[in-house]
């Protein structure tokens, strides 16, 4: 378990970049969003002044601006990643908590991890510039040899190296965390889990890592001056892409709900859907499918549910295990959330189908395997039914996806609210 002291340290510890932004004027006087703009204006202004003073070649100002743009684009990502990482709430499953704690500790508390990548890139860059000074000479033109300009270039090189290094280390640590989290999630018992809001945040952080890494494309034109640096940067981009993909795939395998809840959702055949219109609730049974993340139910376009959900997307879905004889076997899950109608032929419906695409086919197949007899019934006797009850996607039937906002699990009659 994390001690209180470690929590406070986690909260207060900042990355070097964040420290600078928080302490050094003029950044400390500005709100975080304006820090990035201030950084751009300040460094770019300095660069242009140097360009004019030393009368450097024109492509130097373009390449210099690209390097500055990279640092700024990266910094914009940093404003999201560190605060979300600190806000992450603890999983209730001990092994998953350990994985997350060690990840947070490494990324936020360990200066070594923060600097090792940056220092390596910087040392490589400086060493290579000594080994092959022609590159720098070509860039700086008449100003080459001026110590002040060297300092300026050095600072810019450190800025770029620090960011490249930190994005690489962060992506590497994220991939390691995702794989370990996915393995730890298999050892869940009862109501232990990592709330899926946290899983979503971690996936969001992974996408920021990818954005960080991919923003290095901006320095590719500069790297083109030398084949070694160019191919090195390409390898870096490839590694970031590969590690991010690995991390995202591992996160996809982490179930969003605890095993007890999943047990009810996977084994039960009926759900009750509560909707509300004009302050009047309405409850009906439906058949449903659960895909490990969201819950789907199929409804007819002729039903009251369809009409009401279009007016008010708040729904409550109750799935329960009934046992008239033994009270202990009675369990229920109540998911309250927002419904989204999928499979309508309308501008917004087509947009949603584009977003969910093949996933909908998967959900339909899940319905068919879960309810083979129902499917057969509708195939054999579908023509005898009124048109609105026939199984005709888009025409008479639509799918509803429920994204949970609140969740409650009952065992016997005692409810346990679960975080979403």
């Amino acid at each position: 378990m994390t001690s209180r002291a470690q929590r406070t340290r986690l909260k207060n510890r900042k990355w070097i970049y964040e420290d600078i932004v928080e302490r050094v004027p003029p950044f400390r006087w500005l709100p975080p969003t304006l820090d990035v703009v201030a950084q751009l204006v300040l460094v770019e202004g300095l660069g242009i002044a140097a360009f004019l003073y030393w009368q450097m070649p024109i492509n130097t100002v373009i390449f210099g601006s690209l390097a500055i743009a990279y640092t700024v684009v990266w910094s914009a990502g940093c404003l999201f990643i560190a605060p979300s990482l600190r806000r992450l709430r603890d999983p209730t499953n001990e092994p998953e908590l350990e994985v997350l704690e060690s990840y947070r500790g490494r990324v936020l508390l360990n200066r070594g991890y923060e600097l090792i990548g940056g220092v390596s890139f910087f040392v490589f860059f400086v060493g290579y510039m000594f080994y092959n000074p022609n590159i720098l000479q070509g860039f700086l033109g008449a100003g080459y040899g001026n110590p002040l300009l060297f300092i300026l270039i050095g600072v810019l090189a450190w800025d770029v190296s620090y960011r490249l290094g930190l994005s690489f280390v962060a992506t590497l640590l994220a991939a390691n965390r995702s794989i370990r989290l996915s393995l730890a999630a298999r050892r869940r018992r009862g109501l232990q889990y990592t709330a899926y809001s946290e899983v979503r945040t971690l996936k969001f952080l992974d996408s920021v890592n990818l954005y960080w890494g991919a923003s290095a494309i901006l320095v590719l034109p500069i790297a083109a001056a030398d084949p070694l640096i160019f191919y090195g940067l390409l390898a870096f981009l490839g590694a970031i892409l590969g590690l991010s993909a690995l991390s995202l795939m591992a996160m996809e395998t982490v179930p969003w709900l605890p095993p007890d809840v999943e047990g009810v959702l996977l084994n039960e055949r009926f759900a009750y859907v509560g909707v509300c219109t004009k302050r009047q609730p309405h409850v009906t049974p439906v058949i449903f499918a659960y895909d490990g993340k969201a819950l789907y139910f199929a409804i007819s376009v002729g039903s009251a549910k369809y009409r009401i959900i279009k007016e008010n997307r708040n729904v409550a879905v109750l799935v329960d295990m009934r046992d008239r004889k033994n009270p202990v076997n009675n369990r229920a899950v109540l998911i309250r959330g927002h419904a989204q109608i999928l499979g309508e032929i309308s501008p917004i419906g087509i947009l949603r189908m584009f977003v969910y695409g093949l996933w909908l086919v998967r959900v339909w197949l899940r319905f068919q395997t879960k309810y083979p007899r129902y499917t057969k019934f509708y195939e054999d006797r579908g023509d005898e039914l009124p048109p609105v009850w026939q199984i005709k996607p888009f025409v008479s039937r639509v799918l509803v996806r429920v994204d949970p906002v609140k969740m409650t699990y009952w065992r016997e009659a005692s409810p346990t609210p679960l975080r979403v």
Partner: protein, 160 residues
């Protein structure tokens, strides 16, 4: 534009509550009780109930501090569903949906016969010393009762 227009005429309007619907209410074991929170956010729980034949009302018992009771205090429009599930043949699914107003009654004021029927029905589930003081009865008087059997729909309204 491609969708089929629902045909409201397919719902059969009845003057009395259909006997099959009453059978479901008499023999059902769990009722699904829907209430709504502020801004029409629905809430749903499975509950024990007794159908009161003489007054044609439904009785449910809940803990005083439960979420549904808090909801009823703010909005007494509720809905109760009792149904028969058939995992093989959808044409054999049937159920009753009652929409109406809920009234809360202290357990001591509920007719003794109703309490006895309730306790007898759920004897396996109720702990020793039931009913404790923390419980309250909810009486739902139907305004609209919908009954379905397969894809046939019936509707009874209080005023008709």
């Amino acid at each position: 534009m491609f969708q089929i227009k629902p045909n409201k005429k397919q719902t059969i309007i009845t003057k009395t509550i259909p006997e099959d619907a009453l059978d479901i209410l008499r023999n059902g074991f769990f009722a699904y009780f829907g209430t709504s929170e502020h801004r029409c956010i629905p809430h749903l729980t499975a509950m024990f109930y007794v159908w009161d034949e003489t007054n044609q009302t439904i009785f449910l018992v809940a803990a005083k501090s439960s979420h549904k009771i808090l909801n009823i205090r703010k909005n007494n429009r509720v809905s109760v569903t009792v149904d028969i599930r058939d995992p093989v043949d959808p044409s054999k699914n049937s159920g009753v949906l009652i929409r109406g107003r809920a009234m809360m009654i202290e357990m001591e004021l509920v007719k003794e016969t109703m309490t006895l029927i309730f306790m007898e029905k759920y004897i396996e589930f109720l702990g020793k010393g039931y009913p404790p003081g923390s419980r309250i009865a909810i009486r739902v008087t139907p305004d609209v009762l919908s009954y379905w059997r397969g894809t046939t729909f019936f509707r009874w309204t209080k005023d008709t």
